[in-house]
Symmetry: C2
Subunit: 163 residues, 2 copies
């Protein structure tokens, strides 16, 4: 993700919130900034810690409430893993499939629209109407894989998981 696209996203989010009657407060701005710029899925506490640097008085409650709003507008997407079940990333419209690194938590989106035929065949057989789908690949990114192989090495991907 380039820096500019993060800033564009940030601007888009602010516009979208205001267009839906939400007010733009300092607290919300800080939360938006953190999430819009992150390459990783972050949970409420991580967002809280990062956003508080920009908005010192910020409360955790506000983070939850802002996440709720962003989710309602479809601007962020929830990421489930077997452990962390409530992390969020910026939603990339049209790219719903996730690639999650279990080492550093970074998230990438990818296409793979060949799922359409799969869903149709499932629907055809059973009368099931598919409304939503959910494809997530979990593994290790290049950097984390190298760090894991160099056991005990101090230079790794994990350590900077939240900067």
């Amino acid at each position: 993700m380039t820096a500019s696209s993060a800033e564009e996203r940030l601007a888009r989010w602010r516009t979208a919130l205001q267009a839906h009657g939400y007010r733009l407060t300092a607290a919300r701005r800080a939360v938006l900034r953190v999430l819009a710029r992150s390459e990783r899925a972050l949970d409420a506490t991580q967002i809280f810690d990062l956003a508080r640097r920009q908005a010192p008085g910020l409360g955790l409650v506000t983070v939850y409430r802002t996440l709720e709003a962003l989710q309602a507008l479809g601007l962020v997407q929830r990421v489930h893993c077997n452990t962390h079940c409530a992390s969020y990333v910026a939603a990339e419209p049209g790219h719903q499939h996730l690639l999650v690194c279990r080492g550093c938590g970074r998230v990438w989106y990818f296409g793979g629209d060949d799922l359409g035929s799969l869903m149709q065949s499932v629907a055809g057989e059973s009368g099931f109407v598919v409304e939503d789908h959910w494809l997530q690949l979990v593994g290790l990114c290049e950097a984390c894989r190298q760090a894991e192989q160099a056991e005990g090495s101090r230079s790794g991907c994990k350590e900077e998981a939240v900067k």
Copy 2:
């Protein structure tokens, strides 16, 4: 799922647990019975309520511990939805993909092994090593769809979500 396959599964689970040094207690038997016979993904509390009919003294803690064991042996699979994040169904070996009805919670498995190529191409481009994947389709089954269309009708699929 036929009744006999549920009983077969139950027998398999009991054998597997004992083979791995777990003891077969009345409490565990009740939890196994509930989960092995269920067509739906159930969370800890639902299992607790159902299993307590067969084992009155049962504690919720034991449900959690039994789920942990079943999961460790790969006998049940966790189901994530946007709401319930910790429900479990019997794992069907070799069929990892889920079809979940948002109405009644019933779960079906399906094939779709064409994901292999998808994962390879993802890995090839990025150096990412995919260790696990997670495909879930959410929608409405035939029965729930009909029930939803007949708005206000009392005969539905939802009502018997947990019998």
